[in-house]
Chain length 229, copies 3
Amino acid sequence: MMDRLSAALREAAGEEGARAIVLAGAGPAFSAGHYLPEMVGASPEEQRQVFLACSALMETIRVLPLPVIAEVRGIATAAGCQLVAACDLAVAAETARFATPGVRIGLFCSTPMVPVSRAVGRKRAMEMLLTGDFVDAPTALDWGLVNRVVPEDRLEAESQTFVERIAEASPFVVALGKRAFHRQAGLSVEDAYAQMSEVMCGNAVEPDAQEGMRAFLEKRRPRWTQGAS
Amino acid sequence: MMDRLSAALREAAGEEGARAIVLAGAGPAFSAGHYLPEMVGASPEEQRQVFLACSALMETIRVLPLPVIAEVRGIATAAGCQLVAACDLAVAAETARFATPGVRIGLFCSTPMVPVSRAVGRKRAMEMLLTGDFVDAPTALDWGLVNRVVPEDRLEAESQTFVERIAEASPFVVALGKRAFHRQAGLSVEDAYAQMSEVMCGNAVEPDAQEGMRAFLEKRRPRWTQGAS
Amino acid sequence: MMDRLSAALREAAGEEGARAIVLAGAGPAFSAGHYLPEMVGASPEEQRQVFLACSALMETIRVLPLPVIAEVRGIATAAGCQLVAACDLAVAAETARFATPGVRIGLFCSTPMVPVSRAVGRKRAMEMLLTGDFVDAPTALDWGLVNRVVPEDRLEAESQTFVERIAEASPFVVALGKRAFHRQAGLSVEDAYAQMSEVMCGNAVEPDAQEGMRAFLEKRRPRWTQGAS
């Protein structure tokens, strides 16, 4: 399932005209994480395959040239909560709930903590990890785990608002920016500036940047010509 | 005093059946930090001993296999505020107050800033450090310096709620998770995932993980058999 | 203009008795970032000059021995938003607005994202960067991009409150603390503690620290004798 999701994401990103991806659950939950029956009694090698597939999925989201938006209805727990944190943006229904409850079943949420602790801060991440308790949607918004909380019947419209806004920009520039964001995220300020200055110089001479600035000065809509690649 | 606190923490962690440690002030304050009379006129070597003892205390909290919960009544200032930030979780009375006021007495809170700036973010840390002004408990909660703010007469009960919740989990898994959290905290996302995937694989084949997953699937309480260390 | 601003900041920092710098817009906006007409049709070398001047300005703010306070009226966008995030403290009028809208004109805000993402967190930074939408002043306060939001007619008074508070401290210690803050910001907790313990030991034996602690114990105002440099 994780392999298929990774493949589906890559496929969607390759579709003609695709500009952003909305990731939503098909059922009442966003995702409850790993399928436990397959992990009970599994050999170390089988366990490793499961976690490698999971990390590959998260990495796929991070390296895709398109923004990925988590659309969260119901619960997002363990690797499901990680999935929300790993997406570029997240919108949640008022009734959505988030948890990293692995500690309660003997399997600490060590990989989920990577993006979750970077989204919500250390004390809050530690609370989620040590208690496994649910965080409701307004709290997730307050902590920066999600970007929007809306009534459930407005959830898809809210994701769509993000998609449409992103679709107005140059796909080349969005891809360049997303990649740059992840490159600088873990660096010292000095190193981050050094790398981002190069990115900025490279960006500024590209056709879409020149067109975008001209259009802005001429008070007209830009005509983008560069693809995400 | 700091040496004795470090020793007491290690001793408490070694007690049969200990599952979490609550750190509270014996008097009206949580901690006002260093004892200044011993630092006035002290030789460089004596000063160094003081700061080494302080850093050793903070490091003790970080490497203990049990979660340490700060229970804050009254003020927590300078190294006392650092102590709150260095604990895994923190609960505070509504009347608690926090500050890093070293700048006002000529001794900038340079070691306190390490965990404080990582808890509350850069702009807020800079404000605390440059002004030395108090931050009240609701603000500390809003900024992520503490996890709960409650009326003073409910303070101990609130810490106890965390302790009891943590005590339901496997001590082995809590220790593994706390150690993993600190290992990944400063790393890039890639490095953090690489290390945490290994932790997760190792965790999943342990007896307490197998038991925890089985118990969950069988809808019964797990029986943990592994100890902390 | 950026070169002149860098020079003016260094000059102000060198003035006899200067203790903090307030950076405010002369017109209705704080700053709308780069002057686009000079970037349309510019050669790669000219573009590079512009971005180097911009990074040099941000670096100047960071290495100045005095705190720099952004006083934001109107809009702060792109490199103007970066400027707010790069300052040590920031106060904003209720009507101030913040954005990193480069994506909309084909020039992703890759250098602005360095301090902005470190101030507001990853999900919120990504939202600002991918949508380019404005964030109002209360939201900027909630996210930690600014330290205070006040009615427009109280804006200068609010900056002044910070200045006066900072001016009560030893300029030597403020400079030492600001430098220390930036040194430890990107490090692992272990490395940060190792470096800050050294800073603390060095600070404690300085005349202004000894005087500050003595004055505190004697309940009198300290008399600082050490300058910034």
